[in-house]
Amino acid sequence: MNELRTISADIADYIANYYAGLADDVAFLDVTMPHAMAHQIAASYPGLGAAFYRMVEAAAKEALNARLGLVERASVELPSISPALAGLIGSKDSSWF
């Protein structure tokens, strides 16, 4: 099964690459993207649930804001994911991570 560090890194990479792969024209950046992205991520870790989905969606929104230049962040980093994820995994009785 996946390690916490691997899950966090995979999520950060996926979100960063998703936005990086889009054209610079902001018209291509859609506000529904964080929702769709968080869904694909949550579906890939079926033991984690809606709290995990909300956490990932918030991170994806933050990254979209950075991509749109609404917040100043040079790259997508998700420092809050690991501790929050650790707490979430610790609260679940499931081997599906």
């Binding site: 099964m1 996946n2 691997t6 899950i7 890194a9 995979d10 999520i11 990479d13 996926y14 690459n17 529904t32 929702h35 769709a36 968080a38 869904h39 694909q40 991520i41 949550a42 579906a43 890939s44 870790y45 079926p46 033991g47 649930g49 809606a50 709290a51 989905y53 909300r54 679940k92 009785d93 499931s94 081997s95 599906w96």
Partner: protein, 149 residues
């Protein structure tokens, strides 16, 4: 985990379904019992449960994904033959091209691939254990032979 090169055996797929069904049923019950209720959690686990049921039904009916390089191809349930969905792996994340998935709804394609990859993991673990047992047995026989010689 990387994209599978062959599909796991049916018995391990059955084990993976049983494992995840137990987890999801327990998590759904816990979410329902929670006070105050978290409707998002209940809705999430209910949709996981529905997608799992659908994945198991189609698997039992003989639906199998085709492994095409680093992607899985799976026929649409509603438009079989007319529409094929592609699932690709990005690190630990599997992305499904189907309309439901793109619109933020859990699809059975995604769930079936989760199950198959877990089944492959269970199969690999079982093979490792069998190899270790065989290795121990060979060592025991060799030790007896050496002692007798």
């Amino acid at each position: 985990m990387t994209t599978l090169t062959i599909l796991p055996s049916d018995s391990f797929v059955a084990s993976a379904f049983a494992e995840l069904l137990t987890d999801v049923e327990n998590l759904l019950s816990s979410a329902r019992a929670q006070q105050p209720p978290d409707r998002d959690e209940v809705k999430f686990w209910q949709s996981q449960f529905n997608a799992l049921n659908k994945a198991q039904k189609y698997w039992t009916d003989g639906i199998r994904p085709t492994i095409a390089g680093d992607a899985y191809l799976l026929a649409s349930a509603s438009r079989p033959g007319a529409l094929i969905h592609r699932l690709t792996r990005h690190g630990g994340i599997v992305v499904c091209s189907c309309e439901a998935s793109r619109n933020g709804r859990l699809c059975f394609h995604h769930m079936l691939i989760n199950i198959l990859e877990r089944a492959a993991e269970l199969e690999a673990l079982a093979e490792d254990e069998a190899e270790q047992r065989l290795s121990r047995r060979i060592s025991e026989v060799r030790a007896k032979y050496m002692a007798a010689a």
